[in-house]
């Protein structure tokens, strides 16, 4: 049984990557022309390819630094200080997470773009300013905005898990505040920081929406792959895919080395230090005002999206502010079956993928932990692996592997079918659900299952009546995150969608293409609301633990 599940996971997760690498060498596939390193040689001699690799790397490093620079201080601010409205503000600050990548990018475009609200507003008040939201800094801006939340949440979780007694001990030994910060608090925050760094770095390595919309000639690997494929250079696209996968695995190994272990829940458990109360009334007012202004700025993209969704088609041209607002776009979206379909498609595919990921996750975790040994470790590794694979890489790999009918080598024609997109979503959901299910399963007392077995319950009954109810918080935590991510997916969808499975993000892109900005924004709001609801439910169940 473990071998069967393992074989399924290897086939689904690892095999497509091998296929794409083989086809990059001209082995297998419809265009096979024998083992050849020609495409690789041309990759290594081309300056633009090196540029794309190098840019991917430094954009990821800078994105991580920028996200940390915003997220960590915010985490300290809200976890260690008693500010009026702390709970609500603290939650609002995490809301960029409710903007799926593509939606966040278009919100930025509407707000900070060349003819966005910000520029128009400033020009209306007489300032002669203009800028363009393109290239590296635009990508960095969007990355910092959407990824500081990882640092923010990890910092808060890390801080809330710290023992106040250690700080008191340091204080009684005469340590200054900076000494306490650098010698007590920060070292204990290291696992949290390592976790956030890993997450942010890997996310920006695979980031596609921001470079796709803002990059132009500034190519990172994900957009380079898509450009090569578009131009018909499929072999080169496969080489680039392989190289990006290697870059991702390399980075993962390197970062894991720095990372002392990601288990945030471990370590000294005690009462976190008391929050600092601001002494004067003035300080409290200032802190509250500052907090609200900050939250306002961070929520501007959300507000812009909502505003844009209320602008009826062809009513806003040169005015600073839309002259007419109304619900036309929503009416349009809800009244026509064709418009509603992408929303339903996204819902069913994300839900089906999440459910399947739960089933696979529970099966893998149970088998892995009971069986242990090599198959056990391999199972866990296969569940985590997709996390290191950028979405573009996996989408291309799956498309390559599943466009040939050769059942005897495990290749079926799935391209163009209803199944390939949910399958890709499933793979991308595996690490998100798997992580929390494995963690939850480890905490289960094995004697419970033994008791059930000795009372005559079969395996299925034990799982359904004993294991699942106990795992519920862990399952929900992972499933919520997976569901949000898949609902807003753009990067895999753009490669694998068909007319019948086109999801919301693709519809947003094509609405933009035909200048239906309001419709695109309305879809964006829909995604944002669904994601926020899923995030709140997840946060509620998991207590904000990642």
């Amino acid at each position: 049984m473990p071998w069967l599940v393992l074989a399924f996971l290897v086939w689904l997760v690892g095999y497509p990557l091998l296929v794409v690498a083989a086809e990059a060498f001209g082995i297998g596939g419809p265009d096979a022309d024998g083992p050849t390193t020609e495409a690789f040689r041309s990759f290594f001699t081309r300056a633009d390819e090196w540029n794309a690799m190098w840019r991917t790397l430094w954009i990821s490093v800078l994105s991580t630094l920028a996200a940390a620079a915003v997220g960590v201080p915010l985490g300290f601010l809200f976890e260690r200080n008693e500010i009026p409205g702390r709970r609500l503000l603290g939650a609002l600050v995490a809301l960029p997470v409710a903007l799926p990548p593509l939606v966040g990018v278009i919100a930025f475009l509407f707000l900070y773009g060349e003819s966005g609200l910000a520029a128009r507003g400033l020009q209306t008040v007489g300032l002669d300013v203009s800028w363009r939201l393109t290239g590296a800094w635009a990508i960095l801006l969007v990355h910092a905005y959407s990824m500081y939340v990882y640092f923010y949440l990890f910092t808060r979780a890390g801080l809330s898990g710290q023992d106040g007694a250690a700080i008191e001990a340091a204080q009684s030994l005469g340590a200054s505040r900076s000494q306490i910060l650098f010698r007590v608090t920060l070292p204990r925050l290291r696992p949290a920081m390592a976790g956030a760094t890993l997450l942010t770095f890997m996310t920006s390595l695979g980031s596609f929406s921001a470079p796709y919309i803002f990059g132009g000639g500034f190519r990172v690997m994900t957009t380079q792959i898509v450009a090569s494929k578009l131009n018909g250079e499929l072999r080169m696209a496969y080489v680039e895919t392989t190289m990006l996968a290697l870059l991702a695995f390399g980075s993962l190994l390197l970062l894991r080395r720095i990372d002392p272990g990601l288990d945030l829940a471990s370590g000294a458990r005690g009462t976190p230090p008391a929050r600092r109360r601001l002494q004067t009334q003035r300080a409290r007012v200032a802190a509250a005002t500052g907090g609200w202004v900050l939250a306002g700025v961070l929520l501007l993209p959300h507000a812009t999206l909502i505003l844009m969704s209320l602008v009826p088609p062809n009513t806003w041209t040169v005015e600073a502010f839309p002259p007419v607002l109304g619900l036309v776009n929503y009416g349009d979206l809800l009244s026509s079956a064709e418009r509603l379909r992408p929303a339903l498609n996204s819902l069913w595919m994300a839900a089906a993928a999440t459910l399947a990921a739960i089933v696979v996750g529970v099966a893998a975790a149970r088998l892995s932990l009971r069986r242990g040994g090599l198959p056990g470790r391999a199972l866990e590794a296969m569940m985590t692996l997709p996390w290191a694979i950028p979405g573009t890489v996996f989408a291309l790999a799956l498309a390559a592997a599943m466009s040939v009918n050769a059942p005897w080598v495990g290749r079926f024609v799935l391209v163009g079918t209803l199944w390939i997109l949910p399958l890709a979503y499933l793979v991308r959901s595996l690490p998100l659900t798997g992580r929390s299910i494995f963690a939850g399963m480890r905490q289960l007392d094995p004697r419970l299952e033994e008791a059930a077995a000795s009372l005559g319950a079969g395996a299925l009954r034990t799982v359904v009546q004993i294991v699942l109810p106990l795992l519920r918080p862990a399952v929900i935590a992972g499933a919520g995150l997976a569901f949000i991510t898949m609902l807003g997916d753009f990067v895999t969808s753009i490669v694998l969608y068909t007319y019948d499975t086109r999801p919301i993000s693709i519809e947003i892109q094509s609405s933009l293409r035909i200048q239906e900005t309001g419709i695109a924004a309305a879809y964006g709001v829909l995604l944002m609301v669904l994601s926020a609801a899923a995030f709140i439910a997840w946060d509620d169940r998991s207590g904000g633990r990642l």
Binding site: E233, L347, W348, V413, G416, V475, D500, R513, A537, D540
Partner: protein, 353 residues
């Protein structure tokens, strides 16, 4: 945020399952008994909506489903789906791109009734695709920002110092129009000098003039209208629609002659409904459908047996002013991809200035 929403524990999982089932049920029963005809096309909403409505009125048993994308994206999708074709009709794009598709076996032969009235150059010898519309490539400018006498009269004038950072261009990789314009410049360079070097040098200078490459024709229109860039290289039909909608733009045929894109159509190989696809082609080239395309979307029919004056006054006007340039289509077809890859890595963003 704990307990921010009082969601029952089981309810989330149940809701997930219910959402999956309900949405799958609704999404699954999209069919209403009509034969679906899937059309991949770069033609844009205006023409596609008109075509969809008119064809469904003529054939109530057919459901036209279109996906709008760049011409090169149509090729990329059809090729990606080669093992399991999803499209029935490849509707639009320069013949040079369809020719590549034909060479890779992505198109199936068809014989629409109007094939016979086309020039031989507008027909694939084995009937894999046919030219439906003619699309002149032109210079477009914002007429509030540039007067008619000041506007560039030829491609070379775009390189004038005064237009530095004023040119905005549709991202050429995805766009058949831009691939054709760039292709012509490079093909001319080969014909005149024996190599692409002069052509690439020219494109590098154009890149230096370029403010931005944009993702879609819609963004191009928007930028031109708002004067975030006042000049572009584009095609006529789209521009006429834009002018018709009141946008402050005007256009010029380049003085040295206009490359006219042979905008073609074909049946996708492996289409589930080849008969329906061929019937659709047949209708697209019929005088009624062409008159509709002329009237509603400013398409210029390729077939020469229709009376221009009768179609619309603008057709006669355009035909009288249009001076066709000699273009080595064969060369563009054979080298287009390589040239664009070269442009992408060695020219884009490197024009300096």
């Amino acid at each position: 945020m704990r307990n921010a929403l009082a969601l029952g524990r089981r309810s989330i999982l149940l809701a997930l399952a219910a959402a999956a089932a309900a949405a799958a049920a609704v999404a699954g029963c999209g069919g209403d008994g009509r034969t679906p005809l899937v059309v991949y096309s770069p033609h844009g909403r205006d023409l596609l909506t008109v075509v969809e409505q008119a064809y469904e009125a003529a054939r109530p048993d057919v459901d036209v489903r279109w996906l709008d994308m760049g011409s090169q994206e149509v090729y990329d999708r059809i090729r990606s789906e080669r093992a399991n074709p999803q499209a029935d009709v490849w509707f639009g794009g320069p013949a040079t791109i369809l020719a590549r598709g034909a060479a890779e076996g992505l198109l199936a032969p068809s014989e629409p009734s109007w094939a016979g009235v086309l020039d031989a150059a507008d027909r694939h010898p084995e009937g894999l695709y046919y030219t439906l519309y003619q699309t002149p490539t032109i210079i477009v400018y914002n007429r509030d920002a540039i007067s008619a006498d000041e506007a560039p009269a030829d491609w070379d004038d775009l390189l004038d110092e005064r237009w530095h950072d004023e040119v905005v261009i549709r991202d050429p990789l995805a766009s058949g129009t831009m691939r054709t314009i760039f292709g012509k410049i490079l093909a001319d360079s080969v014909v005149e000098t024996g190599s692409t070097e002069a052509g690439f040098a020219w494109l590098r200078r154009l890149d230096g003039q370029t403010r931005e490459y944009v993702h879609s024709p819609a963004v191009l229109h928007e930028k031109l209208t708002r004067q975030e860039g006042v000049l572009t290289l584009w095609e006529m039909t789209d521009t006429l629609s834009l002018i018709d909608r009141g946008a402050p733009v005007a256009y010029r045929f380049p003085a040295s002659g206009t490359a006219v894109i042979q905008d073609s159509v074909g049946v996708v190989a492996g289409s589930e409904h080849p008969g329906e696809a061929e019937a659709f082609l047949d209708w697209l080239g019929s005088p009624e459908a062409l008159a509709l395309a002329v009237r509603e979307a400013f398409r210029l029919p390729a077939r020469g047996d229709l009376d221009a004056e009768e179609l619309a006054p603008w057709v006669a006007d355009v035909q009288s002013r249009l001076r066709r340039a000699e273009v080595d289509w064969q060369m563009i077809e054979e080298n287009g991809s390589e040239w664009m890859a070269e442009w992408d890595r060695a020219v884009r963003g490197q024009g300096g200035g």
